[in-house]
Structure formats: structure tokens, C-alpha cells
Amino acid sequence: MNSLLQAETGGLPINDVLFVVTPYVVLALFFTMTIWRYVKEKFSYSSYSSQFLENSYQFWGSVPWHYGILSLLAGHLIAFALPRELLWWNSVPARLYIIELSALIFAVVTLIGLVNLIIRRAIDSRIRAVTSKMDVIILLLLLAQVGTGIWVALTARWGSSWFAAVVTPYLYSLFTFSPDASAVVNLPWSIKLHILGAYLIFAVFPFTRLVHVLVVPNHYLWRRTQVVMWNKRKAQGAEQ
């Protein structure tokens, strides 16, 4: 709140625009546009897999990329949702090293996957034929994001701890509508770039193939095996 008041009195400092105004604009954009796309352009919700066109290089891109990025996102989520527990875990150095090292390994795996995906898209003519502008933009943004992430991991040590201590309170302040960016603005530029990169990705997310993340088929695990639809009766599972 302090910083906002300051903003009212002394014009808009750049940090407030970047770390207070931007996230709200991005969130609003993210929600309205994904929902709009789901309602109005449902046909376009797809992962646009290109494995059918190129099968072998795809393995070395898609598989490390997905496992890597999902692990990294899970790590960020844990630091956001369970900061106390994480700090407790990290209080023993050996345990901190384990977390930091595995995060770095996952980051490298992610980078390898992503670079492979980019190279594949560049060199295979069939894949080029199904590459849109948005595909290029999002791939470059993701590359930059993974890049800054690794830069942060290497330069600003013990991220799992300071994330829980500094970034988590900042994110909480955003979600509780009492934004306080004071701690974040003093962080090194590598981290600030990483945060801004995340906002940018969230902003373009609804316009890219990334929307497939929102329709992951978790339902499959508990639905009945066969699907039968009736004219009048409600959809019902068949005999399995």
C-alpha cells in the first residue's frame, strides 16, 4: 500500500508500474482472454502436436521439456504455497543443497528440451510449415525465461530460500490486493527480469498453443473406459 500512496503523490515510479500495475493487467488479460477463447474459439484449444510430422527429434525435445518445466513449475508452486515448510526443510544445509541441485538439473533438462524443440522447428521443413508467428514468439519468450532462470540460479544462490522469504510475500500481497513490491524492487536485475518475463508469458499465453495446459485430461483417470452419448438420455458410461 505504501508504494501505491507514494505513487499517487510522486508520479508513477517505474518499479510500481512494473511490479504492481503489470501483474494485475496481466491477470485480467489472462483470465478474460482464456475464457473468451474457450467460449468463442473452443475449436482452437489444442496442443497442436507435430509428432505426426516428425517423430524422432520430437522425443528429445518434447519429453525433456515437459518433464523439466513441470518439475520447475511445481517447485515454484511449492515455494509459493508452502514457504514456511520450505524454509524449515532448507534449514539443514544438506537438504538445501539437494533442492538447489535438483532444481538446477531440472532447469538444464528443460533448456535441452526447449533448445531441441527450437532447432527442430527451424530445420524440419514439415514443422516449419505448421509454425505460426505465435509459436515463434512463445518459444523465444520461453527460451529467455529459462535462460534468466538459470542465470538467477547460478548468480543469486539459494533461490529456494529467498523465494520463500521475499517473492512469496510479494505474490501474497498481490493476491490479497494489498500490493507491496518494496522487497522485490531491491532484488538484482536477473531476478526482476525473470519475474517480468513470467508476466509477459502470462500475457501472451491465451493467444498461443500453451492453452493446452488448461485442458490437461485429468478427467481421464477416473472416467469410465467407454463413452456412449444418447440423443435424449444424459451421456452415460458404458459397460466398463
Binding site: K42, F43, H66, V227, N231
Partner: protein, 498 residues
Amino acid sequence: MNVRSQVSMVFHLDKCIGCHTCSIACKNIWTDRKGTEYMWFNNVETKPGTGYPTQWEDQSKYRGGWEVSGSRLRLKSTGKARIITNIFHNPHLPTMDDYYEPWTYKYEDLFNAPAGTDQPTALPISKVTGEYIDIKAGPNWDDDLSGSPIYAANDPNLKNVTEEQRQQLQAIERLVFFYFPRICNHCLNPACVASCPSGALYKRGEDGIVLINQKRCRAWRSCVAACPYKKTYYNWSTGKSEKCLLCYPRLETGQAPACFHSCVGRIRYLGVLLYDADKIEDIAKLPPEKLVEGQRDLILDPNDPAVIEAARKSGVHESVIESAQRSPIYQFVKVWKIALPPHIEYRTLPMLYYVPPLLPVLGSSANNIYENGTNAEAIFHPFDETRVPISYLASLFTVGDEAKMRYVLRKLMAVRTFKRAETVGDIPMAVALEALKLADTTEAEAEEIYRMTALPTFAQRFVIPPMHREEAIEAFKDPQDHKRAAGFGFMDAPKRGL
């Protein structure tokens, strides 16, 4: 008893002339858009041959269909347990190279080429990349045995054929083939439906047509890998899978599907079968040697009062029961027992049946004369020195059981002998009647089979049940009003991305 109705099909392979009219009829209606060029919801293969996509029957490569593990039935490649690993990279997914890369020709070069001493040519270009390509495969590349040492020799159905028979298949004076038209089988236990992580595929309750909801498909590609017949196709442009829809908009207006309607050989029959949905899983789990009978047992007699009663209770419309009673499919499959499901060992319970081809089987001769035989045993004798080994046909239609294949071929042969005795008269009638008896059939049945094979009218071949789609909309709309409206489904253009 949970009675359901299924629009089912019979293809009479002896009548197929391999003209591909069916494929073209389908393509012109459904798959002439970008991303679908390589798809043939209906394709016609030459057998022996590797088919389309190449070697689709080789499930050690594609892992399609179901397998029994313990007391459970599970998908070979894409079950629930493997969803996470398969979704990022499906190791059993066929790629475009297993089908073929669609192409066109650079026709404008014919007009734009500068004047010169050579004829200008239109070189082939890929419909995917637009670049020049060297055409190496097509949808019926091994048509009529072209390139058979490369293609036909790799037919997975030849695995039970002896080396000697294989040699004979290659011998030029004994060369033999038949056509095998294929569409989606609209299975009772569809592997495609079961494998879809998004639940985009479904079977329609009233008629059993298997469809893909284009708005729910997310390009996870599971159905393409799971269907053992490779009858779902991935649209590489829209990022959605597509498949044969049995021309449901045509069926709903009382017309036969385009491939059926246009079939030049009139090999195609369509009608309703009633079956007991409670038994699907038990039948699909039967040991391989019981599958053919099992699937036949699943089908109920539409004239049995108990079945009619149960069908009414299960909500099958009166008009559909009546249609099932006139179904040519019921006659072929259940009464005459001469139509068999393809590769039932995949355990999807396909609802498209084939009358196996007799012609190439009988294309053998003694003393350079085609012998018809003068006694009943001799009539069946050629089966043992056939050009197409019985084991080959058995691998396609009876899980390798030659006795079951012999039963069907004998009956077909007996009918032919009987009609020949009657119309040509060069075979004594007594011999023909003896043949009928040996083939487990009667004069009356032989006459019926003959009529349905050789002389059926359009209305006898296609007994299309009323689809009662008005019931789907009457809650929101007066069906009478709707009747005046045009069009169906697909409100969004099939474009890629936003």
C-alpha cells in the same frame, strides 16, 4: 439384457472390383481440406499387401487394440496407466511417412515456363511443405500387387503361411490377389474411444456410430495409436483427429453413406443389428478361438419375442426393431454365418463384416482346365490347393482358424454349385444337393444367399433405420421448425490456431 442397436455393415469381397469409387466419393465429401489430404476414411487395399498405413496389421509395431491381462481387458499401448508418458511422445504413433506425404503438381510451370525446346513439366510438390518431393508412397501404392516383392511379401498375414506357399504366391503364373475395402468398423468395444484422454470420442447410443467431438479433441493422438485398424487420422493442420462418420448426416436423412451409395460392385450392405450391451466386455475377453462365435452370440434375434420385449424396455425405438428384422446384415452374419469380422483378435468387436473372397481361392486348375468337379467332394477339393492359402484368409478373418474359414468357403462354393446345376446344368443336381448338405445349408437358404448376393435391390442392400434425431432437439426446438433449417454441426471453421 441391455439391448442396443448398431448400424452394421457387410462387404462382399467377391464382388469388389477394386475401382476405388468408394474412396473418391468419401474424399470429395469429407477429406478434401488442408490437413486431411492424406486421410482416406475409406480405402481399398490389395491383399496380399501391406495396406495403408503400411503394415497397419502389425500390432507389434503399432500396438493397437486390446489385450487380456489376467481378468482385465486393457489397451495395448495407450491405457490410463501410460497416459503421462504417452502424452508427450507416443512411441507407437504412426507418422506421416507410414501413410504418405500428400502431393500435387506445380501446374503453373506448364504455363509459365519460358519458351524452349523441351516440353515443360509439372513437377510434384508436397502439400505440406510446398517443396518439391520425390514421391515414394501413396494411399494405394501396392495396388494390384505392384511392387509385390517389397510390399506383398511384408504382409503380416503371411506369417502363418508356409514357405512353399509363399514361393507359390510369388510365382508369376499363380499370382493372385483380392481387394479389401476398409472403413471404420464402428466397433462395439472401440479402442479409440477408450484411449482418448479428453473423452472427445464417443459412441452414439442409438446407432453405435463412433465420432470425434472436434471441440474436445486436443491433439493427444491416443486414438490414432489405439485403433488397431488405423481408422482415426490426425489432422496435422487443425490439430484435431478425424475419422469416418459413417456419413451420419446422410443416414439421418435416410440415405446410404456415400461409399455405400456409390459402390460400383454393389458389394456393400447396411442394416441394424440388436445386441446385448451387458455382454460386451465378457465377449471381448474370450480366448482367441472363441471370439468369432462369441461376437456372433452377442447379436440378438430381432424376431424373438423376448428380445423384442427387452429391446423395448431398453428404449430401442419400435421402428428400429422393425428395421432390424429386415436387416441384411443379420442374415449374412447370424443366419447364414458367411460374413466374418476382420481381425477380431484385436478385441474391439468390429461391426463391419466381410464375406471372404472365393474367386481367387478357386483359381486353381487341373490339367490346365478349371475343374468344377463332378462329385460333391471334388467340388470342395480345390480348397486344398488354392492360390490364396486358407491360412492367409484365416489370419484375416478367423484368428487363424482354418476350419472356420473352410466352413464359410464351402457354403459359398455350395451355393455357386447349386445355382450352376440349376442354370447351366453341367453339374448333376444330385451332386449339387449333396454339396449343399456337406456345406451345412439347404436349397432354400442357398436361394436366399444367391438372391442377396447377386440380385438385391437398393432397398434390400441398405435397410436404414429411422434415426430419430428430432428427439435430440425437441426439448429446445420444435422439430417441425427445425426441419426447414439447413446444415449440421461444425459452427467453427476448421482453421488452425486463433
